[in-house]
């Protein structure tokens, strides 16, 4: 590396840390950094500056209701890996718990003096657990339907999940590991009913290919039998024109 070129790169590093270089210069600096320890050390000192810049944003406070929305949202989507339907209701008692209770009761019954009291206790426990079991088996009004989208050949590692509220009026799409697109392109969600496709939202992903969006739908989401995500020109298309990256069919 010639000294003049090295000095030129050093001049660009503050802006590189700030992510404000234009694409051509960003590519040059990125390539140089991969082989230059000095410049990487220099970059680290500027990245430390960028990391504290948000502390100088003018102070502002969101509405009080936002925390309640957050807590409700995470309760609605705790992301169990196997269940296809998730619920705000508590989880079902595990067999291991029953076994421990049974063992404890056997020990209790071993003493003859406590036998009548223990029997009454066991009856009360059985009745209350039967009632609890029935309650847990009833469909919860808060249950959210969970639909897993699978990646196409274009994006085999990509994953997607759609959560639909019990009344079908609210839906959230979360995608991960989608490929990066050019600035002229965006992803578009399609809601499919009898071959008709309606746009459910246009979005971009971050560096990890991750994004969560609120689905826009003119009708309840349970009316749709399939969902797909395609690559479209930035801003979206009236109908799908690009390659499908994620999809789900009933």
């Amino acid at each position: 590396m010639r000294n003049a070129e090295h000095e030129h790169i050093l001049e660009l590093i503050p802006a590189y840390a700030l992510n404000s270089l234009d694409a051509d210069e960003e590519a040059i600096v990125g390539q140089h950094l991969s082989g230059c320890e000095i410049c990487r050390a220099e970059l680290a000192t500027y990245e430390a500056v960028v990391d504290v810049m948000p502390l100088a944003a003018p102070d502002a406070t969101p509405s009080r209701a936002l925390k309640e929305r957050l807590m409700a949202q995470i309760k609605a989507a705790p992301l169990p890996e196997t269940a296809e339907t998730i619920s705000l209701a508590p989880s079902r008692p595990e067999g291991g718990g029953w076994q421990r209770i049974s063992e404890a009761m056997q020990n209790l019954l071993a003493g003859p003096r406590w036998r009548p009291v223990a029997l009454l206790f066991i009856i009360a426990l059985v009745v209350s657990n039967v009632l609890l079991w029935q309650q847990l088996n009833e469909p919860s009004p808060d249950a959210w339907r969970r639909i897993r989208l699978t990646g196409s050949e274009v994006a085999p590692e990509a994953t997607g999940i759609i959560y639909i509220s019990a009344d079908g009026l609210n839906g959230t799409l979360i995608v991960d590991k989608l490929p990066q697109l050019s600035p002229e392109q965006q992803y578009q969600l399609w809601l499919i009913q009898d071959g008709q496709r309606t746009s459910g939202g246009v979005f971009s992903v971050d560096d990890d290919g991750y994004r969560g969006i609120q689905i826009e739908s003119p009708q309840p989401l349970q009316d749709f039998g399939a969902f797909g995500i395609t690559i479209e020109p930035a801003g979206g298309s009236p109908g799908p024109t690009g390659e499908r990256v994620l999809g789900y069919n009933l």
Binding site: A15, E25, A48, L55, A56, A57, D59, T61, L66, M71
Partner: protein, 187 residues
């Protein structure tokens, strides 16, 4: 020990174990900062709240991917907030134009809690330190740095927005960043 006594990294560990109360505690510590960053970028209360919600939802989903050796927790959060907010701006196809983007006054708000934990005190001091450093910069440098940081503008977009030669913008950003680095490293 209560959750409020735990440091940020311990809270993230608990969140990765699906502890909702720990997420609530992290929210209490940083929701104002995250919202402030988002609002500075998008400029609208409703969108800034949605971004704040997105950030903490993502923390809930991705806490297990956090690595303390790469960034402090608040840095991780503010990077998420800034990236998400700039993404929102770009989705709206906002064209470069004359923007009035300002940094905060030197003195930050005192913590809301009358008896703040040590971490809140440290955050307040850190805010004060950064704001003092930025306050020293010439307005011309503050302006280009704010457009780059809060709007995600490139050199050429800033030049267009402020009707300045490209070389002038490059020089102001470089000088401003060098000055900030010197000021923050000296302390």
């Amino acid at each position: 020990m209560t959750l409020s006594q735990l440091d940020d990294t311990d809270l993230i560990d608990l969140i990765a174990q699906r502890n909702e109360t720990a997420l609530g505690e992290l929210y209490d510590r940083y929701h104002r900062l995250i919202f402030s960053v988002a609002l500075s970028v998008v400029g609208r209360q409703e969108e800034a709240e949605e971004i704040t919600l997105d950030v903490f939802t993502r923390v809930w989903e991705k806490a297990h991917t956090y690595r303390s050796e790469r960034a402090k927790v608040y840095t991780w959060l503010t990077r998420l907030a800034r990236n998400r907010a700039i993404d929102v701006l770009r989705q709206e196809n906002v064209r470069p134009m004359k923007y009035s983007v300002s940094w905060a006054d030197v003195w930050p708000e005192p913590p809301a809690n009358s008896d703040p934990p040590e971490s809140a005190v440290q955050m307040t001091l850190q805010k004060q330190r950064v704001r003092q450093a930025i306050a020293i910069l010439p307005n011309t440098q503050k302006e280009v740095l704010a457009l780059a940081y809060f709007k995600g503008y490139s050199h050429s977009e800033i030049a267009q927005a402020l009707d300045l030669p490209l070389g002038t913008v490059k020089g102001r950003i470089r000088s401003g960043m060098q000055k900030l680095r010197d000021l923050l490293q000296d302390e």
